[in-house]
Amino acid sequence: MKVSYKWLKDYVDVSGFSAQELAEKLTRGGIEVDGVEARNQGVTGVVVGYVKSKEKHPDADKLNVCQVDVGTGEELQIVCGARNVDAGQHVPVATVGAKLPGGLAIKRAKLRGVESQGMICSAKELGINDKLLPKEQQDGILVLPQGLKLGTPIADVLGLDDEILDLDLTPNRSDALSMLGVAYEIAALTGGSVKLPEFQIPASSAKAEDHISVQISSPEQCSHYAARYIKGIKLAPSPQWMQNRLIAAGVRPISNIVDITNYVMLEYGQPLHAFDADKVAGGKIDVRLAREGETLETLDGQLRKLEPHMLVITDGTQPIALAGVMGGANSEVSEDTVNILLESAHFDGGTVRKTSRQFGLRSEASIRFEKEVDPAVVLKALERAASLIAEYADGHIAEGVVAAGSEAIKSVQISVSRERINRYLGTELSGLEIKTIFGRLNVEYEEPQPDSYVVRAPSRRGDITRDVDIIEEIARLYGYDNIPTTPIEGATTPGALTASQAIRRQIRNRLTDAGLHEVISYSFTSPERTSLFPAISGNAVPVRLSMPMSEDRSVLRTSILPNLLDIAAYNRNRKNENIAIFEAGSVFLTDEAELTRQPHERQKLAALLTGSRRHPQWNVKAEAVDFYDIKGVLEAVIELLGLSGKVNLQAAAPEQMHPGRTAAILLDTPRGSETIGYIGQLHPDTQRELDLADTYVFELNLEALYEAADSSIVYRALPRFPASTRDIAVVIDRKQETGSLKTAIVETAGELLESVEVFDIYTGERLGADKKSVALSLVYRHAERTLTDEEVTELHAKVVERLEQSFHAELRK
């Protein structure tokens, strides 16, 4: 809502406050003022002039030489290039020495050899938003109405000595969508009072009911419809002062009739509509819901297909307006209009809102109706507009208002006590302070018992329905800054993260300690991306947004990995080639093609490594990461959660992954062994497609880890007796996994084996292409005594024998 500071003065005394101060007061009171703009963008020395004559420039086709009277007694010769300039016009003239917006100074000049003593201005040159002006006024100079006193400063004529407050209204304050509503607010904030417009309806012998009738067939959507019949109007431009005010408010002036309906809408907040009464068959108005198959051409020339939830104004047979949204072309006021039917009605907000949304038609009227208009102003606004039409369009108002329905003013009575107010706010307001605020708010109240109030909310404030609404009004007028600052009373509570939140944080810290950067990516992705790793996303159906902003962001992610690949590619393109990143976040899984319930949200952890293992520098060589780096990252997480013995890798070959360098991650649970994720290298084809170097990733289900995590630490006594270490190297089949070797050794050696570690792997021609040598270090120890050499040798021999039998291992000498 754009509010003219000057116009406001018609309704409330603001003399003590500049526009800027008023803006600050409104903002601090709860109606945010986005900005205050001077209408005069720097115009001085521009006055009203009269073009006495126009002649062609002798040397330029497109220029005219005008003789202009600016009331100084001396004629000015001005060269003007506008096509619409003509003798007999009143125009804005920038005289020599004048200034225009942007700092342009007008000087005496010669144009193609002809002297020019000033400039005839267009609206744009005067800093006016010419989009609100008729086309012909935009293209050329601004033609002013006849009869203006020559030499009058243009700022006075166009109302430029004004400032506009741009209100950013919250949805509850639709009362401030009118000048009077803003005036009431200012009165409450400043302690002033509101002055209502004064007008009268001249008596008439004609009776409206002889010409028009009104019927409401859909009372739920329209509680009140009032109309006036006005005869013999003369369509013309509205007076300049009214046009100035409309432009200040951002409304386009059109004609006196339309401008008056808009003017009164801005004044009272009540949208009005004028029909050409002679185009309303039988003068009959029937307000009803549209019927299947009905259409209406609206004022913007669009043919609208109507639906049965839409409210229309009809002449008893066909629709002539879309109630509260836009009028119909078939009943539009035009040049030939003589008699009008003026409508003021109360339409249901939800109905108007639905229709306007469906057609994408948001008019000044629909914006007001959908936020509920004060039902008490239907008749006042009708009378005000009728009186203005009589005054500025020579209309003759027929006697009487023809109406159906009634002012359905909900009289909301709210009980609230001083004690309740103070307890809710933490204040110590006295009864006098509270009653003073009621007075400023202009609300009626009773005090049946001391310090207990029954408040009647004014009808213009439809947002006040409960005691807390009254308390808010008191709080904001008392001033939020004056409310004290207190600590919460009552029992203290222990604050904490939940177990899984704490684990997630620890994982995050462990991974950053290991050198990985945490990333956060979008939950929206493309369908192609979601199908990239079907095994990892469990073949989930991606959930699709009903109206995505783009196809690239049209479905919910089913896996985090594709996002990490994009982030890696993005960084590589910027020469960040050593990448170690992870993300913990939700993926969205469903098996429904059409959602009937929320999808499953699963917390996943994904990590990616590519480039060099360590940042290369003068003493560190670049070394490409490999599978064991990503596995080390995974193991760090697993160890952190106390799950070292419970997680195993099993070679696997899901799509898009390197079939020889990928594994399923298995977790032992009370339900058995479960696959909780995958780890491995991207398939070389996928790497090529995404322009990535060798890239290693994992993604796993975090919830499974939260459930299994074991935070109990049980101390083991440090060994008191020495250990015996035996190293052994065996040649086995190259495909044989060392994991099974270790398992066999543990099984065979029993509890005297403290540990077994692989310390070397060797392959070479000497061994044969299908063989490898695995070197293992075995540590034997007894908890209670020192093992003898013979005992160890005997046990170790069994281990060797087992390896020979189970794996055809040959002992390397």
Binding site: T27, R28, G29, G30, E32, T170, P171, R173, G350, R353, E370, R423, G426, T427, V468, D469, I471, E472, R476, Y480, D481, I483, T485, T486, E489, T492, T493, P494, G495, A496, L497, Q501, N509, T512, D513, H517, E518, I520, S521, Y522, F524, L545, S546, P548, M549, L556, Y570, N576, A580, I581, F588, T596, Q598, P599, E601, R614, H615, Q617, W618, V620
Partner: protein, 344 residues
Amino acid sequence: MKERLEALRQEALEELKQVADPGVLNDLRIKYLGKKGALTEILRGMGSLSNEERPIIGQVGNEVRAAIEAVISEKQELFIRQETENRLRAETIDVTLPGTKTAAGAVHPLNKVVQEIEDIFIGMGYTVAEGPEVETDYYNFEALNLPKNHPARDMQDSFYITDEILMRTQTSPVQIRTMKAMNGKTPVKIICPGKVYRRDDDDATHSFQFNQIEGLVIDKNIRMSDLKGTLLQFVQQIFGEQTQIRLRPSFFPFTEPSAEVDVTCVQCGGHGCRMCKQSGWLEILGCGMVHPRVLEMGGYDPNEVSGFAFGMGVERIALLKYGIDDIRHFYTNDLRFLSQFARM
């Protein structure tokens, strides 16, 4: 014999003076003082001396030995000192070369801020509650006093999946879910961090996906002054002790009274600068007293209990805290950006 001993001393000292090598020094020690050395050789002839002469010559012999030993050990020390010096000279390095880097990743700046805010409120006795990012219309809007077709729904443009299921536009549904789970018990003291989604064209200050943190307190006799006290304590912890707050009346469907909260500008300290448009204040959160309708829908009797709620955008706080100029950095994840946050 005495003359021979003196001559030996003369000769030995002369020869030792020339020694520049530890090996040669050792050879000379053996040559003069060894079991078969020159000194022993001379002293072997002591048996033929008279009883008077013997102690005299013996003393001279000892003196000669001591003199030679003293020079040898002096030389030895010199050689050790020289060797150490040589070693130190050889081992001198360029201390200005960079140290070998240890691995250091960074928690994402948004999560860094979330963790910090969580910790502040945990210290004030709050627990952290989370909820689904895909919500029902009921939890996201209706239970928050935003019935269908309510004009206030225009404040947030949503990503719907079906008519009834959408991406949450705020973390407030977690408040309703928590209230229902509490089953009427008090006190409730939670904060709810999480991702939210609103239809918005991405630019330097807007992102269709962003993070919120909301707080909710419900108990008997919760007052608006408690809300102010809580927020003041919070902003002073996160932005510094000199920070003040200013509340402006506003509107949210789920609170009444409602307020927008400004804090002292983090850049100029309230004197006025470009960041705060010369006002000295920065808007950072919205808050209010929980609307009685919301309490009712959460299973509480508004005549028995009251509560307050507040909410803030994590990105906004992070932008202010770190002086970041473009919200999109948070989601492009450029390593040159992320690595700046690998520190306290």
